[in-house]
Each structure stands twice: as C-alpha cells, then as structure tokens.
C-alpha cells in the first residue's frame, strides 16, 4: 500500500514537471519573435535597439532552459505574466473567469450523477427489456451528438418555441441549466454505456450468487454490493471528464455567450495573446492532474483491492 502511494507520488512529481515543460514548449514554438511582437504593441515604431532592449528586459535572449527556469519561478510565485489583450495580470483574469465555468461544470456534474447511476443500474438489471433498449438507443445518440448543435436545439426548443428559459440570461442558476445540460448529456451517455457494462459483468460474478444463496434481497445485492464494486472505473472516468469539461466548456460557453475560462482562452487564441494562452493551458492541465489524484484517492478508499491490481501494472 505505502509502496504504491510512494510510487504514485514520485510519478506525480515527474508528471507535474513534464506538464510545465510541455506547456512552456507549446507556447514557445511560435515563429513570431515575442520581443518584436511586444514592442510593436507597446510602441508605435520600435527601433531595432528598442527591440533588443525589450528582449534583454524580458529575458528572451537567454537560452531556452534558462527562460523555462525563470518562467517556472514566476509561476510558483503566482505570477503568470501580463495579458497582452486586457493588460491585466493573467492570474487575475483567470480568477475572474473561473467561477462561471466552475458553476457550469458543477451543475453539469450534478446532472450527470443523478442520472447515470439509476439509469444504468436499472438498465443492466433488466437487460434486454424495453427500457434497456431505449437507454441503449438514446445513449448512442447522446455520444454522437455535437454539443454545440445540442445547445442550439435546446435554445430553439426551450427559449424560442416554449419560452421557459431566457435566450440571454445572466447571473442566476436558471441561466446555467441549459448550458449544463449540453455539457452533461454527452458525458452522461458515455457514462451510462460504460457503467451498464460494468454492472452487467459484476452481476455475473460469484459473489452475487453467494449473496443470493445467503438470502440477501436482490435490491440490496444490486444497490449495495454490485454498485460499490462497479464504481472504480467510472470514478476515474468521472474525474477525467471533470478536467476535460473545464476546457470543453469553451464550445458551450460560445453557444450560450457565457463569460467563462473556455471563452477567455478562445478569445486569447484569436488575439494571439500568448501569456494568457500559456497561463490557461497550465491551469487546466494542473486541474486535470489534481482531479486524477482525487480519483485515485476515492478509488483507494472505495476498493483497496484495486491497488494491488494497479501495482501489478506498474511492476
């Protein structure tokens, strides 16, 4: 157990290091000279001497690894640089945009959790029933639907034809329901497919037969034992999705004009605002790693036996 945790921690440190290197490299492959780009933004007619001066000032004359060390040092101090577009510190902008996205993702996750567990368990228990076939069909549609299109359809149905929701509606929880549904439906569909298969394979295991033989009611077997044993793969996927949704929200935010981190990143890309892109990429990747640690932790508590299996993978 402790060897496992130690190994995970070591690989975590390496992964974190790799992530910072990769984010740094991704933003430094640009063929545009950053000193020149900065100079022509700040000054009207930058002279070559002025550009050289800026280059020295920004440390862009240093070798790449030295620049990386400076950058990572600043990041650790919470300084992600200054946005070229808004002229604010990148970290300030991110902190401004993050809450909207977090609310959106949280509501989407809520929708996912309340829907996928009951639907997939019932579907698995009543295999090949009408309900099961219906769930299978709808979930295939759910994983095939483009999310931006789903957003427009929901707007068309629930804001135009049956005006239950406002088309443009800011600031309250109601305004987040439709966007959260758009984020939730494709993810919930793939969860239902995976979870149904996991529950089915667990239902065929020996411990279910044994529990039946002991006279435990089917309901308790299914909602107690089988459910608990089916959770680990879905927990991993769930937290992976959490990280991805923060980025994937760009599409949904664009459809519903929500001012979140995804749209912020998209705008930065359109304006070629490298410090902002860099900062957002790093933050999203770090959140993703944090989520996968959380998933590992929950799985460890839920199912200690799984660690042995995982250990075997690392051996």
């Amino acid at each position: 157990m402790f060897t496992y945790i130690r190994k995970r921690l070591i690989s975590l440190v390496i992964v974190l290091f790799g992530i910072t290197v990769l984010s740094f490299l991704l933003s430094n492959i640009s063929p545009v000279d950053p000193a020149e780009a900065y100079a022509s933004r700040v000054l009207k007619n930058p002279t070559p001497e002025k550009i050289e001066e800026i280059r020295l000032e920004m440390g862009l004359n240093l070798p790449l690894y030295q620049q990386y060390i400076n950058w990572i040092g600043n990041c650790l101090k919470g300084d992600l640089g200054t946005s070229l577009l808004t002229k604010n510190p990148v970290s300030y902008d991110i902190a401004q945009k993050m809450p909207a996205t977090i609310q959106l993702v949280a509501l989407a996750l809520f929708f996912i959790v309340i829907s996928f567990i009951p639907i997939s368990v019932i579907s698995a228990v009543r295999k090949n029933s009408l309900f099961d076939h219906f769930v299978k069909g709808v979930s295939i549609l759910g994983i095939s639907i483009p999310s931006f299109w789903l957003g427009f359809l929901l707007l068309l149905i629930f804001a135009v034809t049956f005006p239950i929701f406002e088309v443009v509606d800011y600031g309250n929880i109601r305004s987040l329901i439709l966007p959260a549904l758009v984020l939730a439906i494709p993810a919930a569909s793939s969860f239902i497919r995976l979870f149904r298969a996991t529950v089915l394979s667990n239902l065929n295991k020996d411990y279910v037969v044994y529990a039946k033989a002991r006279g435990i009611s089917t309901n308790r077997i299914v909602w107690g034992h089988v459910l608990k044993n089916s959770l680990p793969p879905i927990v991993t996927l769930f937290f992976q999705n959490l990280g991805y949704m923060l980025a994937g929200s760009a599409v949904v935010e664009s459809v519903f004009s929500l001012k979140g981190i995804g749209l912020h990143l998209l705008n930065a890309v359109m304006a070629r605002d490298l410090p902002t892109i860099n900062g957002c990429v790093l933050i999203i990747a770090l959140i993703f790693v944090f989520c996968s640690i959380l998933a590992d932790g929950i799985n460890m508590v839920l199912n200690p036996r799984m660690i042995e299996r995982e250990e075997a993978l690392y051996e």
């Binding site: 933003s27 063929p31 095939s144 483009p146 931006f148 299109w149 599409v251 664009s254 605002d273």
Partner: protein, 274 residues
C-alpha cells in the same frame, strides 16, 4: 464473425450509415445539384425549391450541395487522422507492452503527462502560437490524442503477451519482432478496430467542434461545423441553417458509433474499458 456481424441489426444500420456517408463524400461532385461555393446574393435564404432542394444560405449558396461536400471534409480529415493515431498507438502500445520493464514505466508517465492536456487545449495553444490552418489542427489532434490510443492498445497487448501461446512461440525460437507482428498485433486487431470505429465518431465530433469555434478552416469552407458557425448569426430567423449541418454530423457519428459498439458487444461482451 462476419456472419454474426451481418445478422446484428445494430451493426448493419451502422454499416449502412457509414457506407451512405462515404458514398456521398466520394461522389459529391456528381450528386450535388449546384456548385457549393456559388454565391448569389439575390437569392439569400430561399426556401425549398426544385433548383435548391434545401434552400439557400445567408450568401445564396445551395445548402444541399454544401452539406454533400461537407461529408468530404469530415471524413477526409477524420479517416487519415485516425489511421495515423492507430499506427502510432499500435507501434508505441505494443512496443511498451512487449519490452516492458523500465521502458514501460517511462511510457506510462509520458502518457500521464500528455493526458493532462485536453485536445481542445492543445489545439488552442498550437493555433495561438502557429496560426490557423487545417494541418495545424491535424498535428494538434494527433499530438494530443496518440497517448489515448497507445495506452489502451498497450493494455490489450499486455493481456495478449501474458498468454501461454506467446511463451510457446518464444520457446519455439520466434524473434521478438516476429511475435509482435505475427502474433500479438493480429490477435488484438479486433479490439483495435472497435477503438478505431468509435474513435472516428469522436474525431468527427471534435474536428467539427473546432471548426464551429472558428479554428482550422478558411471562412466559407463547406464544412459542417463551419457552416453551423456561419449560420448562427441568423439562427433565430433561419434555424434550419443550423439544424441541417448538425443533423449531418449526428448521422455520421452515430453510424460509426453504432457499428463500433455492436462490434464491441460481439468481440467482448463483458469487457470494461480501462
């Protein structure tokens, strides 16, 4: 196996849809009633007519012709990308599984690093650094997705490698390369096809999502996601311009998903993906 596939209704529907869309993509110039890029500002937002079976868009272009040519872009990007991903994934996955040991552990860590970057984020940062262009989107997708394929295929190769017949062929004196190419790869090919078939659906969705965000294609390209993006400004007046391209994406993705999932059920009914 093939017979079972032909008896499976779901697989047949999926296969039918796949073939239907592929045929449309191949024969687009012959099927399309009009030139997809012919701008005619006098005939904006026309309704259904014999000359324009699905009407015209905001620039007076034939919607049906644009949808038909759109199949070319969706499949033309998704299929080569997927083949590249499959090849890279198979190469790295089987190599890591077969060699094992320290190399495999390094491989897993590299996977963890790459997996922390959602494809959209990599695409956004590459487009931000290098500018627009379909080849940049392709590079970014391959760059961000290859580990997913490599990691799953490694798991399959690992399970296959642990089987007794591999040991037997080692004893019989097979070389490592021969074992990988003649034994492991052919035996994990069915699972590989399942991943590729459902993978193509998610690639189609992904690329159309990028072009919806205005990444990748030049303005005016008859690509489904891009068409949707251009139609959104007139969404409330002419919702059909948004509805049609999305429906095309849905049908194409559903075809590949139906086929892939049916195949998965057949190959490994109880298998749970890692």
């Amino acid at each position: 196996m093939n017979k079972a596939l032909l008896k499976n209704k779901q697989a047949l529907i999926g296969l039918g849809l796949m073939l239907f869309v592929s045929m449309i993509a191949v024969f687009a110039p012959f099927i399309a009633p009009n030139d997809p890029n012919q701008i005619d500002t006098l005939n904006k937002f026309l309704h259904v007519s014999p000359a324009y079976p699905l009407g015209t868009d905001q620039l007076g272009r034939c919607v049906l012709s644009r949808l038909i040519f759109g199949a070319r872009y969706s499949l033309g990007i998704a299929v080569p990308t997927l083949l590249a991903l499959g090849t890279i994934g198979l190469a790295f996955g089987t190599a890591a599984a077969y060699i094992g040991g320290r190399l495999e552990r390094v491989f897993l860590i590299v996977c963890d690093i790459f997996m922390a970057f959602p494809p959209l984020v990599i695409v956004l940062s590459l487009v931000g650094a290098l500018g627009q262009g379909i080849e940049i989107i392709l590079t970014a997708v391959i760059f961000s997705m290859w580990v997913w394929y490599a990691k799953v295929l490694r798991t399959y190769a690992r399970i296959e490698k642990a089987k007794d017949y591999i040991l037997a062929s080692k004893i019989a004196g097979c070389s490592g390369l021969r074992i990988v190419f003649y034994h492991i790869i052919p035996n994990i090919l069915p699972q590989c096809i399942v991943i590729l078939s459902t993978g193509i659906a998610s690639l189609i969705l992904m690329v159309s999502g990028f072009s919806f965000l205005g990444l990748g294609f030049e303005a005016g390209t008859p690509e489904w996601g891009a068409m949707l993006n251009q139609a959104r400004s007139s969404f409330y007046a002419h919702p059909r311009l948004v509805v049609y391209p999305g429906l095309c994406i849905l049908i194409t993705a559903a075809g590949f998903n139906l086929f892939g999932e049916a195949l998965r059920d057949m190959i490994s009914p109880e298998e749970v993906s890692e």
